[in-house]
Subunit: 101 residues, 4 copies
């Protein structure tokens, strides 16, 4: 099971706001049916890395469809295969449990 | 106002689990009094970049205090100065509003 | 034309050195025939993003073949479509020219 | 000894080219006297992390001095303390040696 964070940003659009482009990339992700969570700095996706990868490419492509000419995308993958409960929820809870002690 | 994401991971600890080190870095952050949010892929902090920066260095240092000999840290900064409502909550809401349309 | 940086690192291997795993991922890249450059913090690849993407997935997978159980991969994409000379060499030269002025 | 990669990019500038801002950040780094190397996707710096950190903040600040209102900065730190030869040159050579075998 992999947990993946992606952020997509157009450069040189003339406006510092990029929410419209982020929402466009998220619409692509939503169509995929994958489990995801929106955070203030990106979108976190959980699932099989082989299924997630083609969706990441589509998300990266989406700002070009809205007129962007340069897109900067950051992808961070945490892929763990020694336990089956590795996922978005478990990762946060494991840290919170330790912090509460 | 800046929104900053940081993730801290030790390399070569002998165990694939790193929650203990992440919790140690978060304990440092909690002491700082800065506003933060834990996500499945890192910790997001909000505030003045000049105040956040020294805390990022302390968080990066913390795994060495627990015996790590190599630490890999990733920091992503989104610093916006043309509007006063740029923050963790506003960033997520702006995208969600567009997605709901 | 896209310029992409990738770094691949196993977690919990018992040794802080990861060169062996990095070399394994690079061997995969070398077989692809894509143009690349090794830097101290990752590998930079240049080409069509559609051709690069499947190779990135193979590079991410390679440490598991060597026994790693958890792999952390970072991918940064700079994709520019308004000019044909966007590439590894041009990007560095454009900055060096400005610095020399 | 730490090896650190930084990339600094303004958002919403009206032009997809950002070399001018990258060169500005590099001018700040050059003044610091730290050892660095320019790559197609960022700048790699080598040295004591305590000395590097304040320079990273100055580099992040520099695009605002040129009129940018939003800056996106990515910092990746590889800090290794179990051997004294950990540096930019050694990291690349260790991988190249394995690849040549």
């Amino acid at each position: 099971m992999a947990v993946v964070e992606i952020s997509v940003a157009p450069l040189g659009t003339g406006s510092p706001g990029v929410s419209e482009y982020v929402a466009g990339a998220l619409a692509v992700l939503r169509e995929s049916g994958l489990t995801y969570q929106l955070t203030p700095m990106g979108t976190v996706i959980e699932g099989d890395i082989g299924e997630i990868f083609p969706v990441l490419l589509k998300m990266h492509q989406s700002p070009f469809d809205r007129g962007a000419v340069r897109v900067s995308t950051l992808i961070k993958i945490d892929d763990r295969r020694d336990r089956s409960d590795h996922g978005m929820k478990h990762k946060v809870e494991a840290v919170q449990r330790l912090l509460a002690e």
